[in-house]
């Protein structure tokens, strides 16, 4: 009986240490990984943008491989230094490196819904402040072809994890034909809540990209 108790105690202590270690990895390890990935993606993006042939080569999402960087996301309300490289794809692997474009949705500036997903509490917490956006907040997306400025048109909304209506061409109206150039930002609440936070906006301005920026 004493041996059994001792072994059980040691197993429980080991499990506790493993779980604490995993928590530390989720908080610090994923943030370090994301920071290093963003640095490499930023270099890759700037070198791609320096090549004028890339503009003609990138015409649609089909031209991008999963994990390939293609745009820069800035939300002025989150501070002047807040910017992330957006990669193609929104699976767990792509979101570990930063915000990801949801395949099947429009590209920046196109008619339809340009949807971006990102983590809220791991991988550098890119969308931690997403619920603080309000109607009128600006969202800037810079690509090789220009800077697309979107304005939030709907306050953050909480939807069920499995609810994909926000990804429709007209967010929340699946089947409706696209009439505007929209943007949708999505992130998750902690897993036990079973909800996502969704922010939608509309394109209000397109500016030329600053060369060498």
């Amino acid at each position: 009986m004493r041996l059994l108790l001792r072994i059980s105690g040691e197993v429980l202590i080991t499990l506790g240490v493993l779980i604490l270690g995993f928590g530390a990895y989720l908080y610090w390890g994923t943030a370090l990984g994301e920071r290093s990935a963003q640095h490499a993606l930023d270099q890759e993006l700037r070198s791609e943008w320096a090549d004028p042939d890339q503009l003609a080569a990138l015409t649609g999402p089909g031209d991008l491989g999963l994990g390939q960087p293609f745009a820069m996301l800035r939300i002025p309300q989150f501070g002047p230094g807040w910017q992330f490289v957006i990669v193609q794809g929104a699976s767990a692997r792509q979101l570990a490196s930063g915000p990801g474009h949801v395949p099947g949705t429009a590209m920046p500036g196109q008619l339809g819904n340009f949807a971006i997903a990102a983590h809220r509490v791991t991988a550098g917490d890119p969308f931690w402040h997403l619920p603080s956006l309000r109607v009128g907040s600006m969202i800037d997306v810079e690509t090789i072809s220009g800077v697309y400025q979107y304005q939030v048109t709907r306050a953050p909304r909480w939807v069920a994890q499995g609810d994909s209506a926000a990804l429709a061409s007209v967010p929340y109206y699946p089947g409706e034909p696209a009439r505007q150039r929209m943007i949708t930002l999505l992130t998750s609440d902690p897993f036990w809540t079973g909800t996502r936070v969704v922010v939608t906006g509309v394109l209000v301005r397109t500016l030329p990209r600053q060369q060498g920026g």
Binding site: I7, A90, S91, A92, A117, H119, T122, S164, L186, F191
Partner: protein, 51 residues
């Protein structure tokens, strides 16, 4: 379990402590660089991903 491991380590107390430190470091590195990254992609700790 830990008592069994301690008695299996070779040498005196100093050598055992050194071996234990190496063992703990190896397990820690394996967890940090292999097991936890894999688990973070497969466990829904922060399920923002789609697909």
């Amino acid at each position: 379990m830990y008592g069994w491991l301690w008695h299996r380590l070779p040498g005196g107390t100093g050598a055992r402590l050194a071996a234990l430190a190496v063992l703990v470091l190896a397990v820690g590195l394996l967890l940090w660089y292999v097991v936890y990254p894999w688990a973070s992609l497969h466990l829904p700790a922060d399920p923002a991903w789609l697909g």
